[in-house]
């Protein structure tokens, strides 16, 4: 009965994974892999090079630079997204007029294809003609080089990613909040617990299982969040906003011939890093008595 599952997993996960690991141990690039173009048949001429790619990547400062920024980006995005989502979920977890409208409005960023939102943001951020700077100019403030200064560009990409990520957090946490029995709050109120105490001792523990899951998922997504960075800044200015995955993309798609093997090595390293994070995180949760 599990045969179809095994088959599908084997085809869509297993094969690409094994192939990627294999490529990372070779010197394959666009010019030496097998191709059939019209009547031309070009045979594969790449060879096995062992761990050379990994050695090259790990001894190059670029990898460590990019890793540093990627970690900062991930931690920044996930914490801001989570806190904003939590605050908004708490606000919406009450009966108020037009609640459906607010919920819909907050889910809107989720409903728009990411690349469209990112392009819109890019227009807003345009230093010379963008609305953001026009608004600032109205308030007598100098134009901000949103995407043209390394620090501003970093803040800008984080802002967009948070904007894109909040709805997911909001929905997940709202679901979590609604599963906490109202009686707990009533009882606490009778005992004279303040709003902060109720939040601290009922809401936070009640949300733990939901939040631990969404934080882990969000970490993995953000770590590999290609479209926001690529479409907004192409990793620029310079390489200021380049995270590990966008750099791997640059290796295999921008230079010619495309360097499949080194890019694959980056991919494998990213996978290893994320697996380590997931395992450590799970351990930490288990220590707190969380079953996940």
């Amino acid at each position: 009965m599990v045969a179809p599952v095994v088959l599908v997993i084997g085809v869509i996960i297993g094969y690409p994974l094994v192939r990627g690991v294999f490529l990372s141990l070779t010197d394959a690039n666009e010019a030496n892999v097998e191709r059939n173009i019209g009547v031309n048949h070009l045979p594969a001429t790449y060879k096995f090079t062992g761990l050379d790619n990994y050695r090259a990547v790990l001894s190059d400062g670029v990898f460590w630079d990019r890793l540093g920024w990627t970690v900062l980006w991930t931690v920044g995005c996930v914490s801001l997204t989570f806190l904003t989502g939590l605050a908004l979920a708490n606000m919406l977890n009450r009966t108020l007029r037009g609640r459906t409208f607010y919920r819909l409005a907050l889910i809107l960023p989720w409903a728009i294809p990411a690349f469209i939102s990112v392009f819109t943001w890019r227009m807003l951020y345009n230093e010379k003609n963008g609305i953001l700077n026009k608004l600032l100019a109205g308030g007598g403030i100098d134009a901000v080089p949103w995407l043209n200064d390394p620090t501003w560009a970093k803040l800008s990409v984080i802002a967009v990613n948070v904007w894109l990520g909040v709805p997911f957090m909001l929905v997940a946490l709202l679901g979590g909040l609604q599963s906490i029995p109202g009686e707990l709050y009533e009882a606490a109120e009778m005992d004279g617990a303040s709003a902060w105490q109720r939040f601290r001792h009922i809401t936070v523990p009640g949300l733990r299982s939901v939040s631990s899951t969404v934080i882990l998922l969000s970490t993995i997504w953000t770590f590999n969040m290609f479209p926001v960075i690529f479409l907004l800044t192409r990793g620029g200015p310079g390489d200021a906003t380049e995270i590990l995955v966008t750099y791997a993309y640059r290796l295999s798609f921008i230079d010619s011939p495309r360097n499949f093997s080194e890019s694959a090595a980056w991919g494998v390293l990213i996978l290893v890093l994320l697996s380590v994070v997931a395992v450590v995180y799970r351990r930490a949760l288990r220590k707190q008595g969380e079953v996940w």
Binding site: V11, I12, E30, A31, R35, N36, I37, G38, V39, N40, L42, W110, A114, R122, N126, E127, K128, N129, L147, N148, D149, P150, A153, L164, G165, P167, F168, L217, W221, M225, P227, T233, R234, G236, P237, G238, D239, A240, R250, F253, I254, D255, S256, P257, R258
Partner: protein
């Protein structure tokens, strides 16, 4: 993306199915050819012209159908920025590649090196090669074979707003130093910034580099040149222009921002190419078309030079309709089409004979750009030619934002080149 795992799985499945479907769908009957002496079938043409040009190109391409009623031309406009990657994905994956593509001059050697292009020597695509300008032919050759037909040639020039310069009482600058000196006057008298400096596109770095007597690489002797003194000076020039506020720049969207700044009269000058002539003339600063002046790109401390660019037409080696594709290339690079392109868009022909046509000869933009093209610097026509740009782009961004000094930038670019070009010194 945020729709996460389920979405991704679905996409992967759909992609897998699509792949399977195309794999089975091979062996299409698209023989096309000229079996009965008459061409038939479909020619898919990827055009990379910009928004101001594409309507004209579509019309020209579809004009082919009048000569060959049984051929259907499928015109697709692919934005220049995506075209290289899109073609490689399609050509390498054997699905969705066009029969004919308008290929940037630096891409030809690259695509040919990877086996993606059909050689055109001895095919109907190249009828009279003697008619082509020699420098236009340079970029179509790779390892002794011809892989493209030249369609348009271009180089960079200095576009200037005659009125603004006149109001400021300055001459058109001949060097970047003169430009920098004139900048204060222009700002004081007209409020406009002197120059828009494309900080987002490495192609625009070349005049600064050539102006110092440098080059990216010397392909003949296999030497990386960018990290010698000229490269450092070139990075310093762009940094100084921006720091002194003689120029404004951007790390993104430079094409749109530059054109808009020029059209609106916010900048007095911009380094640009013939492809933006029509676009610029549409702006409010050039309601009087004569207000747009074009001069040679300013020189540096030791020379003056701008890169030779342009577009070629190449045929995909896997095209199922090679005969019709060759004929289409011949048509699109013919004297008649080149003349029309010039009349409508002021783009520069690659055929000597077209320059003899009075309407072309007297075109004001041709009058300027033809001598400029004749003096333009040919780029290294090597397979990695296009890849030489990315490191420059990263470093010029870094220099302009203060993240690297000109010395560090030149050194980093040189190192990147040596990594890319393994047998270079």
């Amino acid at each position: 993306m945020r729709r996460g795992i389920r979405g991704a799985t679905a996409t992967a499945l759909v992609a897998g199915l699509a792949l399977a479907a195309t794999a089975c769908g091979g062996g299409d009957s698209g023989d096309g050819g000229n079996s009965g002496g008459e061409l038939s079938g479909t020619v898919t043409f990827w055009d990379t012209s910009n928004d101001a040009e594409k309507a004209t190109y579509r019309k020209l391409a579809e004009g082919f159908q009048k000569q060959h009623p049984k051929v259907r031309v499928k015109y697709v406009n692919v934005p220049f920025g995506d075209a290289n990657a899109k073609f490689k994905n399609a050509a390498g994956g054997n699905s969705g590649a066009p029969d004919v593509m308008r290929t940037e001059v630096a891409w030809v050697a690259d695509f040919a090196n990877l086996g993606y292009l059909a050689p055109l020597d001895g095919t109907p695509a190249l009828d009279t090669t003697d008619d082509y300008l020699p420098q236009a032919v340079g970029s179509t050759k790779f390892k002794g074979k011809t892989y493209a037909a030249p369609q348009v040639i271009d180089t960079l020039g200095l576009f200037y707003n005659k009125k603004l310069l006149k109001d400021a009482g300055v001459e058109v600058p001949k060097t970047f130093e003169e430009l920098s000196k004139a900048a204060k006057k222009i700002k004081a008298k007209t409020g406009a910034t002197a120059l828009y400096l494309r900080g987002d596109d490495p192609y625009w770095f070349l005049p600064y580099l050539y102006g110092e007597g440098g080059d990216m690489v010397n392909a003949r002797d296999k030497v990386v040149e960018i990290d010698d003194g000229a490269g450092v000076k070139a990075f310093k020039t762009i940094k100084d222009l921006v720091d002194s506020k003689a120029a404004v720049t951007d790390a993104t969207d430079g094409q749109e921002n530059q054109l808009k700044a020029l059209k609106d009269g916010d900048v007095a000058m911009a380094v640009d190419g013939p492809w933006d002539i029509e676009g610029a003339r549409a702006g409010k600063a050039f309601k009087d078309k004569k207000n747009l002046g074009v001069a040679p790109v300013p020189g540096g401390s030791s020379a003056q030079g701008s890169p030779q660019g342009g577009w070629n037409l190449s045929v995909y080696a896997g095209s199922k309709n090679l005969q019709a594709s060759y004929a289409f290339v011949k048509y699109m690079s013919s004297a008649k089409v080149q003349q029309e392109t010039n009349e409508k868009l002021s783009l520069l022909p690659t055929r000597k004979s077209v320059y003899d046509v009075p309407a072309v000869k007297n075109n004001e933009m041709v009058k300027f750009f033809k001598p400029a093209v004749d003096g333009a610097v040919q780029r290294p026509w090597i397979a990695e030619g296009n890849s030489l740009f990315e490191p420059v782009k990263v470093q010029m961004n870094k220099v302009l934002t203060g993240a690297a000094t000109p010395e560090q930038a030149a050194e980093a670019t040189g190192n990147a080149y040596r990594k890319l070009l393994k047998d270079y010194k």
